[in-house]
């Protein structure tokens, strides 16, 4: 029974290696400035050339274009920020220097991934990305549960790499090229089944990375990572699927797998959003929220809007990084409260409807989505409901005056939709050289059925009927449990 582990020994050796020697303290001090510098250079370059960022190739090995720079700027922003935060937060942590090095390594691996034109470079950097992330999850190697979590997540990431390799290599061998860009232009000429198999492999790789159901459990088991590492994970790693799918967008059109993305993304979005409601730990709640958001991102891809998915992954990164870094703020004395049931008056309903429609028109006008009868309508519909929900909460709030109730929704949706549209259009311009990244699909039965499912989800949540289903509670509770070995698996023996 008492199987003692020898890892302790290793761990203490590790701690000696990464102790506070002169070299390690240098890496602690130097890495954040390096990352800020990288970010500044990227941003300056991007702004200087915007909107026409020149495309630049080095053989068929690497390629730099507007999209590359966009992702570079984003990822360096997150890692610079996280490393600054960690400068204080991890002060005195025995693996602080290792954290900083991994942070830099992670940034470089993502940068390599988006710049890769050669498939081997692409696959290698994808693998390194996952490898580094699992190292961050298990960075405290003296903590047995963290080691278990690290091993567990590593298995997911390796499988992801395996599927991606399979998909890409199939395409490479049938098309006879190792260049991603060339390969994509040849897609139309490849046999249908080959493309389908390749597309499915790439999709599996993507949804493993994005912790989409049924591959969600690794993300719920990753809280052994220090908080800043989690911020980096949720802002810069899980959304890697969005980048991957955008790079290979044409394949999903060719293989007719967009509906598959739509369904798996949409279902995950709904289920995870419900699961989020019952979480009692802050970080698990954030993880469920991320899973839902990633589901939504995949859904956007499934509707043909890969550019919208990219905007979403960036904005979600800001949002989630912030919430993780502030995750210590949730301690508060409170008292049990019955949920308020306030009926909405007809006039208020009218205001809600009016603002919803207004929001939708404003959104459609600025982004061009939903102006025609195609898949873009769904995205506009979501905006309309969101604006409606915001307005609903505002008009029924008693502490606000009438004028506040009119002005507030206006101000909010102009600020929100305005800035979104600005970014959306900016990103679309930067991605304009990439094939098939914003192709609205004609309305299909699958989409409409799915739209209805989504609306049903909305109404169930709105009316709160789910709360009277104990079996659903337990089902979702168990669905969101972390890997067993990463909790209470070990005991320490005292002296």
């Amino acid at each position: 029974m008492n199987s003692e582990t020898k890892i302790q020994e290793n761990a203490s050796q590790n701690s000696k290696n990464t102790g506070s020697g002169p070299s390690s303290s240098a890496s602690v001090k130097m890495i954040a400035p390096i990352l800020w510098l990288l970010f500044t250079v990227n941003l300056a370059y991007l702004l200087y050339f915007f909107p026409n960022v020149p495309e630049w190739h080095l053989g068929n090995i690497v390629r730099v274009n507007g999209f590359t720079l966009l992702i570079w700027t984003t990822v360096t922003f997150f890692s610079a920020l996280v490393s600054s935060y960690a400068g204080n937060y991890l002060h005195g942590f025995r693996f602080h220097a290792r954290f900083m090095k991994l942070c830099l390594g992670f940034t470089l691996s993502v940068m390599t991934f988006v710049v890769s034109e050669n498939i081997f470079l692409l696959l290698f950097s994808w693998m390194v990305m996952g490898f580094i992330m699992s190292r961050l999850i298990g960075i405290d190697s003296e903590w047995a549960e963290a080691r278990e979590a690290s091993k567990y997540t590593q298995r997911y990431f390796l499988s992801g790499t395996l599927f991606l390799s399979l998909g890409v290599l199939i395409l490479a061998f049938t098309s006879g090229t190792y260049s991603v860009d060339v390969m994509i232009t040849l897609i139309q000429d490849l046999p249908q089944t080959t493309v389908l198999i390749a597309a499915l492999c790439i999709i599996v790789a993507a949804i493993i990375q994005s912790a989409i159901y049924p591959f969600h459990r690794w993300l719920l088991s990753a809280m052994t990572a220090p908080t800043p590492a989690s911020a980096l994970m949720h802002a810069g790693f899980v959304n890697g699927a969005g980048i991957l799918l955008a790079l290979f967008a044409s394949i999903f059109f060719a293989s007719n797998t967009l509906n598959f993305l739509l369904i798996i993304g949409g279902l995950t979005a709904i289920v995870a959003q419900f699961t989020k409601l019952l979480q009692v730990n802050v970080k698990q709640r954030l993880a469920c929220s991320t899973i839902a958001q990633m589901g939504f991102m995949i859904m956007q891809c499934g509707l043909g809007f890969f550019n919208a998915a990219v905007v979403h992954l960036i904005l979600h990164g800001f949002y989630k990084a912030y919430l993780f870094l502030a995750s210590g703020e949730e301690i508060a004395l409170s008292k049990p409260q019955e949920p308020l049931k306030i009926r909405i008056k007809p006039l208020q309903a009218l205001v809600v409807f009016f603002f919803g429609v207004l929001g939708a028109i404003f959104f459609a006008f600025l982004t061009g989505k939903g102006t025609e009868l195609d898949s873009g309508i769904f995205l506009t519909l979501i905006v309309a409901i969101t604006v409606g929900q915001a307005t609903y909460n505002i008009v029924k709030e008693r502490s606000l005056s009438i004028s506040q109730k009119i002005i507030l929704p206006m101000a909010l949706f102009i600020a929100g939709i305005g800035i979104y549209a600005l970014l959306y259009n900016g990103v679309t311009v930067l991605m304009k050289d990439m094939p098939m990244i914003a192709v609205p699909l004609p309305l299909s039965t699958v989409q409409i059925v799915f739209g209805v499912v989504f609306l049903i989800g909305f109404f169930i949540m709105k009316l709160g009927g789910y709360k009277s289903l104990p079996w659903l509670y337990v089902r979702l509770l168990n669905l969101s449990q972390p890997n067993k070995k990463s909790i209470l698996m070990y005991k320490s023996k005292s002296l």
């Binding site: 709904i270 800001f318 800035i419 509670y473 005292s494």
Partner: protein
């Protein structure tokens, strides 16, 4: 076998677990409080056995102390020789270092994990929007209804889970003999000490959550034992093969004692020198410009030193709840919190009312509050609902990006920006005191005698006769960002609330003319008419002292100008001293207060080791390095010993709690402390778990105790109390208070007296009212009691190093 018998066994077993306090009112209490009736060494040994805990400082801490000369060689050698240990200290140090902690698999892993899952779900205090169904019926019944759906238990059709906890316990325990009950129950309570400690807390405090969603240790044990038998987990504790060298524990205790003795010697030397040369000639200045009363908190020692050096100011130390046993009703969230020591029952309720002619301003303030509350609610709704969660992220993401930049790069700037613009409610409100728990035929207002008694007891306990024109009652509070342990840095005497409301309340009471008149007429306490009492707050993160002076007359306002500028200078030098930097120390402190990535905004009460109950003249000329609690006291004004008795019953016990908490959190941070902050995961709005989940953490985090993973900061020494009063007086008090004597006899704290009747000689309390001169090296052979086993020299030399 009866239900009552089981309940009795639970009662007995529950002594082994402490109380886990919620982090929103983090009371630093002794995790082994259930053992205070037994000796320290026995208590720690039981804890070690049950919880697998470390009970003495690690060898590395001893090494550091040894190398820094904190452990006196002579004291150490004496203790070692008395116990038949003849080798050199270095030899024993290396012997202690040769022991490493090892990991082993948790034999009840699955059981512990499933219990943690359900406990976290049930005890949530509003973090989840969708609460565990059936919670109102209590833990056992709610769990029972859900258990059949739990695939991790796979309860087959036809298996019936008992209807009530008592049935379940009877059913499981019927397979065991009655004398095994306590053993079984203890084992299962100790399996998740953090969670069971929180059940303890809920039951005892009977919080609003407990009233609505009851849980008891019986519920817990019933669920746990039923699952254990269902999963065929261990119900009886496994016999342990003790492969740990018992001599190590003995050595550790000897080193601890030597270290404590060395520290006491140092303190005695310091105070001895002082009391001979400076008393009474260098007493207080005859007419101080202002007097300030600070909490006994160790952090006050630093700020008092710096304030005193800036002008003719006299300072006092008093328990930070300022003698008012009250709950405080917070204006911002409308909730009432305890604001006096947890050992006291609150008799008063204090709330805020508008100052004269400021009703309008208060209404505006409350409107702003409502708006903030609405924004919070609004954001939560938007984030939780489908599909607004997605639209919300897209619309607001950019603004989160901007906040990320601002909070990470410019925390100090935003601190000053916010400080400038905010108008605290203290500028428009005044505190109002009422009776708590009144029968309906009684009035809420409190009688004059109560008010007089509160004010009088402050002056009595502090030994205070002459009053300056301005008297500040300075409570203290800590300000830090993104810190789940924020309340652990607030005032321990106010049950981990900031003390400023108590300070303002006392000031208001002391300013009432009828109170002053009664004090003068009845008790000959003459407060000059010009004297005005004002509440204030010492911000312990920035060392700023904010004076709540919105109601003072203009004549006083002029005097305050000078005082405020002196306090600003005191802030400057105090932060320089505390942070060890000479430039921009205030800005650095402000940055620490508002930096969301800062895990050590301040050190709280770390390094506490002593409690001095004496007039300030005794300590005034010394830098005690924020290691001592200081209570003002003058025995000559307290011939009956009544005041001293109050101090020993109240503040001394609270400081012992604090000190023991720091001790245990330091010696085993994973078991008794909070572990490292960097992987904390807040659960249920009241606590933290580590990483993916598991047991609730019960104590201070590593970052409050250590400078880094390797370098200690707090020195785990038991509290040494020093009282300046005649030995006979202290003996009288001890003989009247069995519980205090027990604490001392069981060595949870040390006591020394400086006897003014015997030429200020300092003596140490030994045991059973025996006192010995403090500077004598210990010769007491039963010091180490039965913990000590004879050490065989052969065995020692075999240890390979």
């Amino acid at each position: 076998m009866s239900h009552q018998h089981i309940l009795n066994s639970i009662e007995e077993a529950s002594r082994v677990i402490g109380k886990t306090w919620p982090l929103y009112s983090f009371v630093t209490s002794n995790p082994l409080s259930g053992y205070e009736k037994t000796s320290f060494s026995k208590a720690v040994n039981s804890a070690k056995e049950l919880l697998n805990a470390r009970i003495f400082p690690e060898a590395s801490i001893y090494r550091q102390a040894w190398e820094d000369g904190e452990i006196n060689e002579k004291e150490l050698l004496t203790l070692l020789r008395e116990n038949g240990l003849d080798q050199s200290p270095d030899f024993y140090l290396r012997k202690m270092e040769s022991q490493k902690r090892t990991e082993e698999k948790n034999p009840n892993h699955e059981l512990d994990r499933i219990m943690a899952k359900w406990l976290a779900a049930f005890m949530d205090e509003g973090l989840a929007e969708w609460e565990m169904p059936g919670k109102k019926e209590g833990f056992y019944k709610a769990w029972r209804k859900l258990a059949k759906y739990d695939s991790e238990l796979s309860i087959a059709q036809g298996i019936d889970v008992p209807k009530s906890p008592s049935e379940a316990l009877l059913q499981i325990l019927s397979g065991y003999s009655e004398n095994e009950y306590t053993k079984i129950l203890t084992y299962h309570l100790a399996a998740l000490p953090g969670w069971t400690g929180y059940i303890n807390y809920r039951v005892e405090s009977n919080s609003a959550w407990q009233q609505k969603y009851p849980i008891s240790l019986e519920d817990y044990l019933a669920v746990r034992l039923w699952i254990a038998s269902h999963l065929k987990a261990h119900i009886l504790p496994q016999s342990k093969n003790s492969d740990i060298d018992p001599t190590i524990t003995n050595l550790q205790y000897i080193w601890l004692k030597a270290w404590e003795k060395s520290w006491q010697n140092q303190l005695v030397k310091t105070l001895k020198g002082e009391s001979i040369t400076t008393e009474p000639t260098k007493g207080t200045d005859p007419d101080p410009e202002a007097q300030m009363v600070f909490c006994i908190d160790t952090r006050s020692e630093l700020i008092r030193r710096h304030v005193e050096s800036k002008g003719n100011y006299e300072t006092y130390g008093y328990a930070g709840f300022f003698g008012i046993a009250m709950d405080y009703n917070n204006l911002n969230d409308g909730l009432s919190r305890k604001s006096c020591p947890p050992i006291l029952d609150s008799s008063y309720q204090v709330s805020e009312i508008p100052q004269t002619n400021k009703e309008g301003q208060l209404a505006a303030y409350e409107r702003k509050n409502d708006n903030f509350r609405f924004i919070e609610y609004f954001l939560r709704r938007m984030k939780n609902m489908l599909p607004s969660a997605f639209g919300y992220v897209e619309g607001s993401g950019f603004y989160y990006g901007l906040s990320l930049l601002g909070r990470t790069l410019l925390p100090g700037f935003f601190y000053r920006f916010k400080a400038k613009r905010s108008t605290p409610h203290e500028t428009v409100c005044e505190p109002k005191i009422e009776r708590k728990n009144v029968e309906h035929d009684m009035s809420l207002s409190i009688p004059l005698e109560d008010k007089v008694a509160i004010v009088k007891s402050a002056f009595d306990l502090m030994g205070w006769k002459h009053f300056a024109p301005v008297v500040l009652f300075v409570g203290h509070g800590s300000h830090s960002a993104n810190n789940p342990f924020g309340s652990s840095l607030d005032c321990g005497a106010c049950a981990a609330s900031p003390g400023r409301h108590n300070a303002r309340m006392l000031a208001k009471l002391a300013n009432i003319p009828t109170v002053r008149k009664t004090l003068a007429d009845k008790y000959q306490i003459n407060i000059p008419e010009e004297t005005i009492f004002i509440g204030a707050e010492h911000n312990t993160t920035t060392d700023e002292i904010v004076i709540f002076d919105s109601e003072v007359p203009n004549s006083t306002r002029e005097k305050l100008v000078q005082i405020k500028s002196d306090l600003l200078r005191a802030q400057q030098t105090a932060t320089q001293d505390r942070l060890g930097i000479s430039k921009d120390s205030i800005a650095v402190a402000q940055q620490k207060a508002n930096d969301w990535g800062e895990t050590r905004p301040e050190w709280g009460l770390a390094k506490n080791a002593g409690f001095i109950i004496a007039p300030r003249t005794l300590t005034k000329n010394y830098n005690l390095e924020s290691r001592c609690f200081l209570h003002s006291y003058d025995w000559e004004l307290d011939r009956t010993g009544k005041a001293l008795e109050g101090i020993m019953q109240g503040p001394m016990v609270v400081t012992q709690w604090i000190n023991n908490h720091y001790y245990f959190s330091t010696v085993d941070n994973d078991t008794f402390g909070g572990g490292s902050k960097i992987t904390h995961n807040i659960t249920g709005k009241f606590g933290v778990v580590q990483g993916n989940g598991g047991d609730l953490k019960m104590g201070l985090p590593l970052q409050s105790l250590q400078q880094s993973d390797h370098e200690p900061y707090h020195q785990p020494l038991r509290l040494s109390v020093l009282i300046k009063a005649p030995e006979t007086m202290v003996n009288d008090i001890l003989s009247r208070n069995e519980n205090l004597k027990t604490l001392l006899d069981n060595e949870w704290i040390y006591l020394m007296v400086m006897d003014p009747l015997q030429d200020n000689e300092i003596k140490r309390y030994q045991k059973d009212m025996v006192w010995t001169p403090a500077m004598e090296t210990s010769k007491n052979n039963d010091l180490l009691e039965k913990l000590m086993q004879p050490v065989e020299v052969d065995e020692l030399s075999e240890v390979s190093i």
